[in-house]
């Protein structure tokens, strides 16, 4: 049997997905279910002074109207316990749940939810980070000081509207700036980006025998378990989460959303309950990628060295702390990981505003942090009159250098290989030539999420291999391709004889979900651990059944054989059947978590996300054309060199690259949730929220660079998240090159392009005068 690792084996879930038989979370219904809808706040800030449910309760089909007094009053959260289930009485964002309605149909529940009369005393919203940080700004949460971290997490520096702050100031930064020939300072802004998975969020729950069972399409079922338990004030083991096909997530399905409400309502009414977001409430309430403001200042020498740097970032956390208190560590990795820098100060803050809590979106914060870094890098090169690529090559990190957290990048030399790889695909000098054309280049270092996972492999009596894991197939193929192919090779069986389970937190060991490209690396490694154990058991059973000693037994091509006597053999099916009543069923469990790399805990304060484990290296090149009349941007060519460790399924990875680049193009050119002065989003439907469509996205040209990782299964590192990370940077640099102007925010609108062209004209005129 040819090994399946390294081959582009089609995915097994493609068949039900093309037939329309795949059951997604939103399709799933518990028999006898009722439907619920949340009453959501129409304003961004205020106080609920009255809630009249009389009319709603009398609407057709209504079973119950759930009010805040029926819900636990405590706050809970992902890192900081600051979020109540219902705003009561203080409203902190538009779309915040105020009450719920349960009815016999979804339509009836939604209609009745609209009939709940809420009396609100509105107050002016704090719509952005600037307003939240202004002197004398109202505190979004007057009782912020009483909030506590979730159990197990030590508290960190928080004050007023700042819910988290990272400071890394190693000393010597100001002195190092003195040594620079030139100091360049830039300010950048990034808009909010909605994950816009095609399947709206939903949750179904039933309460039986004192336990909640929750059905959902979710990237991280064990987090649904833990977060729902904390929200409802019960034990994690009181919650069972069952996963279904996932219609996209991109990070938005890592934290809870509707699940605690489904559980609570099911308990309160004594019947199963299902909630489904309509698209508008999904957009309004989604944990979108946070907007941010970044300031970068660097000192350079005339010969092209970066000798000092300051990197400041304020992230808009929205009304609750959610992910941003972790994400404020990431500027530290971005500011000093791709290029060698002198002493560097990093200050990053997570800031409350009266907007929907932001959260994880593929490439968490890295997309805009690298946009800022790489735009700034272009500006540094220009300022000293050096070619942008040469300047980068001159400052590239190499093997054995350390990031700002003290973590050593033993293989950073791969960056140079990646620069060479894109050069081979299309020489830098040949791109962006001609009027209104430009080329941009961006390099990044990204991590593979280290969080734990577990797999049980069982040899079925028909010789097929069961893979029992709570790892989630969010569409990326990490389970359907990565885990499945790695498992097949453990016993030399065909991938079609590998049977994958759907997640169930009662039946499977812990898994940290599809985040940070961890699944193939972590779960694949757990498969290898389990495989070694299962093979040992198979050899023992084979020795018993074939009456040989274990040293003489081998497993080849899905058969158990006596070495040197190939006719003395058993199929895996016969072995499994034979072993069953002699020694019991054959199964083995493997677990894995990446050991946390060595780092310097003194390198920063407020560092809740202290390392970048299993780093991978990336270089992207974009060639664009701008229309000088309309400001429209066309991406002509897009090149990617991506280091992957080892490609388990090359087509699968190329699919992640193409999809990640498309999302990055959306981030760079179109997508934004703008917040009005009233704290409400301006884009309120998919019509207004412009996403890339088929004619917008070029065919990405990609090279996969293999540098097998010692710890990874067959050397595999994380691959699915990083393709989005450098895109905004590469495209922005290309547009700046095409226009000759400055591009300081994403998304880059046609107006920004025209302005950049005008600015460049003015500059030329100025120089001519």
């Amino acid at each position: 049997m040819t090994p399946s690792v390294g081959r582009s084996v089609p995915r097994p879930d493609a068949d039900p997905k093309v037939r329309g038989t795949a059951v997604y979370g939103v399709d799933f219904e518990i028999a006898g279910t009722m439907f619920a809808s949340l009453v959501r706040s129409p304003v961004a800030a205020g106080r609920v002074v009255g809630l009249d449910t009389t009319a709603a309760a009398a609407m057709p089909g209504v079973r119950a109207v759930i009010t805040p007094d029926q819900a636990p009053a405590h706050r809970s959260g992902l890192g900081l316990s600051d979020q109540p289930l219902f705003a009561s009485p203080y409203i902190s964002y538009e779309g915040e749940p105020l009450a719920g309605v349960v009815a016999n149909t979804l339509e009836n529940a939604r209609q009745a939810a609209r009939a709940v009369l809420v009396d609100i005393e509105e107050v002016p919203a704090i719509a952005d980070v600037g307003a939240a940080l202004a002197d004398g700004a109202r505190f979004i949460h007057t009782d912020w000081a009483s909030f506590t971290p979730v159990p197990g997490l030590p508290d960190w520096r928080r004050y007023g509207n700042v819910c988290g702050e990272l400071i890394s100031d190693p000393g010597g930064v100001d002195e190092a700036f003195e040594l620079a020939d030139l100091v360049i300072e830039d300010r950048f802004e990034a808009g909010r980006q909605y994950q816009a998975y095609l399947e709206p969020k939903s949750a179904s729950a039933v309460y039986e025998s004192g336990r909640y069972t929750i059905h959902v399409s979710h990237q991280y079922p064990f987090n649904v378990r833990d977060r729902t338990a904390r929200a409802l004030g019960v034990r994690p083991s009181d919650i069972r989460v069952v996963g279904h096909h996932i219609g996209g997530g991109f990070g938005a399905r890592l934290d809870v959303s509707l699940e605690p409400y489904a559980g609570l309502f099911a308990r309160l009414i004594g019947a199963p309950v299902k909630l489904v977001n309509d698209r508008v409430e999904d957009m309004l309430s989604c944990n979108s990628r946070e907007s941010a403001v970044i300031k970068v200042r660097s000192g350079v020498t005339r010969d092209g060295r970066i000798v000092a740097r300051e990197y400041l970032c304020d992230m808009d956390s929205g009304a609750y702390a959610t992910d941003t208190v972790f994400l404020i560590s990431i500027p530290m990795f971005v500011a000093g990981s791709v290029y060698q820098v002198g002493p560097t100060r990093v200050v990053a803050r997570a800031v409350y505003t009266n907007t929907a809590p932001s959260g994880a979106f593929r490439g968490v914060s890295g997309t805009y942090l690298y946009f800022a870094l790489e735009r700034h890098t272009d500006n540094l090169a220009r300022a000293i009159g050096m070619d942008r690529r040469d300047f980068r090559m001159r400052n590239l990190m190499t093997d054995g250098q350390s990031m700002l957290n003290g973590q050593v990048l033993s293989d950073a030399g791969i960056l140079e290989t990646a620069f060479d790889a894109v050069e081979e695909m299309a020489p830098w000098a040949s791109l962006g030539v001609g009027p209104n054309r430009g080329v941009g280049i961006a390099a990044t270092v990204w991590l593979t999420n280290p969080a734990p996972g577990q797999v049980t492999l069982k040899l079925n009596e028909d010789g097929t291999l069961g893979v029992i894991t709570a790892a989630t197939e969010n569409g990326s193929g990490a389970v359907a391709m990565g885990v499945r192919q790695i498992a097949a090779d453990e016993l030399g069986v065909d991938p079609s004889d590998v049977i994958l389970t759907m997640p169930d937190t009662d039946g499977q060991g812990f898994d940290a979900g599809s985040q940070g490209s961890r699944t193939t690396h972590i779960v694949g490694r757990a498969v290898r651990e389990a495989g070694a154990d299962l093979r040992r058991q198979i050899v023992e059973a084979g020795a018993q059944l074939l009456e040989e000693s274990t040293e003489d037994i081998e497993i080849t091509d899905g058969m158990v054989r006596v070495k040197g006597r190939p006719h003395r053999r058993l199929s895996l099916a016969d072995l499994a059947k034979g072993a069953m009543f002699r020694r019991g069923p054959l199964a083995a469990t493997g677990s894995y978590a990446t050991p946390i790399p060595k780092y310097d805990p003194e390198s920063a304060t407020g560092m809740l996300f202290p390392t970048f484990p299993t780093p991978t290296y990336h270089v992207h090149v974009a060639e664009v054309e701008v229309d000088p009349h309309t400001g429209q941007v066309t991406v002509l060519r897009y090149l990617v060199a991506q280091e992957v460790g080892r490609a388990i399924n090359p087509q699968g990875i190329l699919g992640q690259i193409q999809g990640g680049v498309a999302q990055g193009i959306g981030h760079a050119l179109y997508e934004t949730l703008e917040v009005g002065a009233d704290g409400r989003y301006r884009q309120r439907s998919l019509e207004a929220y412009r996403m890339p469509i088929a004619p917008d996205v070029p065919r990405v040209e990609a090279a996969l660079l293999e540098h097998p990782d010692e710890a990874g299964p067959y050397g595999a590192k994380g691959t699915a998240e990083p393709p989005i990370v450098p895109v905004a940077a590469a495209i922005a640099n290309a547009i700046a090159d095409a226009t000759g102007g400055s591009i300081n925010r994403v998304p880059i609108t046609p107006e920004d392009v025209l302005e950049a062209l005008d600015g460049a004209q003015d500059q030329i005129r100025g120089e001519e005068e």
């Binding site: 093309v18 037939r19 329309g20 816009a196 998975y197 095609l198 399947e199 996209g248």
Partner: protein, 154 residues
């Protein structure tokens, strides 16, 4: 009101509310859940079905409009023996599916395109797909699958 039409070669009569969208009738009353609801506002194309051979967003089409007409949904594509249609097989072979939530809509749009124009160019394919959002794939593999189904990719 009573509404009769033909869906996937089967005549059906269902009770519908006045303004009920076709998507709701298909999913809730006829249990044809292969057609997906992504937005309910005519923007994502996940709900695309064919009405007399033309692709429409069934979420914004009042069901009454389809009285007496022929509807085709994703469930109709595979043959009676279960064999996948060429465009479905092409999606599987070309890795055109990730999460798959958009897939039924893309398949129906492409089925209509290929019936009208069996050899579309890439730009025509991309143009025809402008009403279908895919958040996962970045479209290229879907375009490849369509080209492969025309036999023009060799």
């Amino acid at each position: 009101m009573k509404l009769s039409f033909n869906v996937n070669q089967r005549d059906v009569t269902v009770d519908v509310d006045g303004a009920e969208p076709l998507l709701h009738v298909l999913r809730e009353r006829l249990k044809l859940t292969g057609t997906k609801q992504g937005c309910d506002e005519g923007e994502c194309g996940a709900c695309t079905v064919l009405v007399d051979g033309r692709p429409v967003d069934s979420c914004i089409l009042p069901a009454g409009v389809v009285a007496g007409r022929q509807i085709r949904t994703v469930e109709s594509l595979a043959g009676p023996d279960g064999q996948l249609a060429a465009i479905q097989q092409s999606f599987v072979d070309r890795f055109a599916i990730q999460c798959g939530f958009c897939t039924p809509g893309f398949l129906m749009t492409l089925t209509a395109l290929l019936e009208e124009n069996p050899r579309p160019e890439e730009t025509e394919i991309r143009g025809a797909l402008s009403g279908n959002l895919c958040r996962c794939t970045g479209y290229s593999t879907i375009v490849d699958a369509a080209l492969a189904a025309t036999g023009d990719d060799q």
